[in-house]
């Protein structure tokens, strides 16, 4: 069949393409970021569990000395960013699925975003403070 528009290999009509990235206007980016962070979380969480197992009976000095080691600080920052982003995306979907009163849903979605941004900043700052000042 001869198409009236350029065949770009998708099944989208020109109207669908003109309207952009679907009802949410951000296409599959949410889905894709969920998967990317999931892939990153897998080795990071295995590392974190392995590290926490060794923390049995550690004192404050031992814990901060461990966190000040560059590789530990770097992996911890990566873990915090990847896990918190993954959690923000996941909890967003839960709210979207179960809360149908619009203002309540939007309030919860804003709350989730702000919580994970604040939590992430708090964690990264704390890790850097320990790493730089010991």
């Amino acid at each position: 069949m001869k198409l009236k528009w350029k065949d770009d290999g998708t099944l989208k009509t020109p109207l669908a393409r003109a309207r952009g990235l679907g009802a949410s206007h951000h296409g599959v980016s949410h889905w894709w970021h969920q998967r990317m962070t999931a892939v990153a979380n897998l080795p990071l969480m295995i590392w974190l569990v392995w590290a926490v197992v060794h923390m049995q009976g550690w004192t404050y000095i031992e814990f901060t000395a461990w966190l000040a080691v560059p590789v530990n600080a770097i992996l911890m920052i990566l873990s915090v960013i990847s896990v918190f982003y993954h959690a923000a995306l996941g909890t967003q979907v839960i709210v979207e699925d179960y809360f149908h009163i619009e203002w309540m849903k939007i309030a919860k979605l804003i709350g989730i975003k702000l919580f994970f941004i604040a939590a992430g900043v708090a964690c990264v700052f704390s890790i850097l403070k320990i790493a730089f000042t010991g």
């Binding site: 999931a38 969480m45 197992v53 404050y60 814990f63 911890m76 996941g90 939590a119 704390s126």
Partner: protein, 133 residues
């Protein structure tokens, strides 16, 4: 329209309660529940790191809480949730890549996920116990 109810009472399509729970649906709900529990668990991570950055007293308060029965129970719960969400997450990844779509494979992978959760949880708590390994 004064007597119009805000929420309609018309019959809904067949809903959750009419379906017999199946392994696939139960594991799916558990994946979400575990993920939600883990999201709440981030509060503990924030507490741990901010306390450590604040000084020995604040970190001591965190350690004291972790040492209580409630603290240990919460950590244990999060370890189960993490290993389940992690194992089942791999199952989801395989679906995304186009594998395990036969009912039989989906079930087999589901049982494997449950077994992995039990094995990893047992392994980690055995290793974490004093003199464990």
């Amino acid at each position: 329209m004064s007597d119009t109810k805000k929420y309609t009472t018309r019959p809904l399509s067949p809903h959750l309660q009419v379906y017999r729970p199946q392994m696939t649906s139960v594991l799916s709900i558990m994946h979400r529940a575990a993920g939600y529990a883990l999201a709440l668990g981030t509060i503990m991570v924030v507490w741990m790191l901010v306390a450590a950055a604040s000084g020995p007293e604040a970190y001591g308060a965190f350690q004291d809480f972790v040492g209580t029965a409630l603290g240990k129970f919460m950590i244990f719960g999060w370890s189960v949730a993490l290993f389940y969400h992690m194992s089942n997450g791999v199952r989801h990844m395989l679906w995304d890549m186009g594998y395990l779509f036969k009912i039989e494979s989906a079930y087999k992978a589901g049982y494997l996920v449950l077994a992995m959760t039990a094995i990893l949880t047992a392994l980690v708590w055995w290793a974490a116990c004093p003199g464990g390994y």
